[in-house]
Symmetry: C2
């Protein structure tokens, strides 16, 4: 029987949690997580954390974390904002910067949460098609808009834009805020952080969930002109009163402080990526050169769905998108060399019989 | 010079962070924080946390925490939702449950974030005045509405409703969702959790920031019929992709598991509250009996602002509200006995000269 209060409930399907695979048994290459643990400095920061301090609210501004990010990039702390993961930071940025009747522009193939925030915040938007090879052409963004957001490298396509192309994009859109979502930039070596001093309409977001192996801790940041950072602070303070927790602040700061470990693990992942790409191409897979910690692949003789299911039955989880333009593609996160050897070996059996 | 992109920025004042007092030097009675550290089980859970696990995304459903809450209350895990602090949980609940053209009802003197979410989510609302003594009369809520939210005990008034009154409120509003915000209920001894089995229109929210001394960790929960919990999960999963972090889940579960420590510290705070209330009344202060971990006081011969400033100069921070109906009142958080003795002693000097 329908109850009267049911008509006041939000019009979405109640969520039913999916089965969580026991991660010990499977090779998990489906969430672009880091195969290596975070820096030992993170373990130390957590182990030494004084739980007594938790009785107090955390510092609203996550100061130690912002300082560590500023130190890493050699920028002023006033240019840094921090939040509970990229989704928190991006949601605040959408709210702060995209208040226009003109459409926000972003690629048609890109991160799936952009349209969610547009719907939620009633932001008009238009998607800009990537080309047949999934490339973004910055000239397509030289038109009237209420803002632009582009991941660089883009996901799930793995393709990155060079610094010159991004600078062209920004300089041709000085009347809009341009967000460059650098979730995967540490695997490309191309970061636009140096451009924030030159362009006061540029906002860069980064996450600690990938290159810094802190997906479980929810840490991310934005970097921009201090004037824009003030707006992010205002939004976070006014509409969203969940600051970062005190442990996440310390863990994030510790991760940021260990440059050597960070560079080492990124280098390892990039090396494994190149080995894996070569191995897959040998098996007939077609894929663009990846600037990220994952590959975006297709095979002329086997459907994406078939490969996905084949691997899943053998305990290897990758990502299949049942979406227009990319439903023949698979996204494969780069794991350890050992994991990727297992992957290649299973695929060899499938493809060469 | 005005830049073109500025017109697309959100129309709020950029946030300028206030000075953070060095908490070693001051007695901080202004945020209703717990004067005691969290359970030693929390320190243990954090110290033993394997940072290696942070490379993976946290479990979306915060299962270990939900289980610990369910165990504490003797309810099924399907009746429990968890989030990053009360503000996260309440924001999800407002979004999930208050989709009506009829007004949401809540007291005129109450938690200051309710109107913020109403504005943000475009929820029509009407405030229901508390009486001259700041009491809520549940009969005032027996009218057409799109939902009800009431803190019990109410803040900043410290006044609690008995279980019978709350049950009257719920049973007279079976066509609406009623949220009882139990942020401070552990200091009153009155919790409506047992009523969730009887009323499928009841949602209870609780925070770990007060009675469980985890303000710095951002942990809170909602309890309700599993059907309603499904909607909270759907909202959190669809619109807000920042799950609880893995350390917060473990820390919260640890806090919930240590019933003895929890009951001990609540008892100490209640005893200190009663001593402090008696001491303040001796000095001529007028205040309702408190069911919370703070007091709501006024003095016939000294303005609230005067007392606030006097204490601040002496390193004791309390809360003054420059708002209609309560601008002659002060909110004083219960600290340790020692801190409250210092407070009383300073006030004695002010009042008795």
């Amino acid at each position: 029987m329908e109850k009267a209060f049911q008509k006041n409930l939000i019009n979405i399907e109640p969520y039913v949690a999916g089965e969580q695979p026991k991660s010990d048994d499977i090779i998990k290459l489906n969430a672009n997580e880091n195969p290596y643990p975070p820096s030992p400095a993170v373990q130390k920061a957590i182990a030494e954390f004084d739980a007594g301090a938790l009785r107090l609210y955390p510092p609203m501004d996550a100061a130690p974390l912002r300082q560590a990010i500023a130190d890493f990039y050699g920028i002023d702390r006033s240019c840094v904002f921090a939040g509970n993961g990229s989704d928190d930071v991006l949601a605040a940025a959408f709210r702060a910067f995209f208040n226009s009747d003109k459409p926000l522009l972003y690629p048609d193939i890109t991160y799936s949460f952009y349209p969610v925030w547009c719907e939620l915040l009633k932001i008009p938007f238009e998607t800009v098609p990537v080309d047949e090879g999934f490339n973004i052409h910055v000239e397509d963004y030289y038109r009237e808009n209420g803002g632009i957001v582009i991941p660089n490298p883009n996901a799930p396509t793995t393709i990155g834009l060079g610094l010159d192309a991004v600078e062209d994009l920004i300089s041709h859109n000085r009347d809009s805020i341009v967000i460059i979502d650098e979730a995967y930039a540490d695997f490309s070596g191309v970061s636009c952080v140096p451009l924030i001093k030159k362009y006061d309409n540029l906002v860069i977001t980064q996450t600690f969930s990938k290159s810094r192996a802190l997906a479980g801790m929810r840490v991310a940041c934005a970097m921009a002109d201090p004037y824009l950072i003030g707006y992010l602070d205002a939004v976070k303070d006014s509409y969203n009163s969940y600051p970062m927790d005190a442990v996440a602040i310390r863990a994030g700061a510790a991760a940021m402080s260990d440059r050597e470990y960070f560079e080492q693990t990124c280098k390892k992942i990039i090396a494994t990526r190149e080995r894996t790409a070569a191995g897959l191409r040998e098996l007939g897979f077609i894929l663009p050169d990846s600037s990220a910690n994952f590959l975006f692949v297709t095979h002329p003789k086997h459907t994406a769905k078939e490969i996905f299911s084949y691997l899943r039955e053998r305990g290897i989880y990758i990502r299949y998108f049942n979406k227009p333009r990319i439903d023949d593609r698979l996204r494969i996160t780069i794991g350890t060399d050992e994991q990727m050897d297992r992957l290649i070996s299973e695929l060899r059996t499938l493809i060469q019989g």
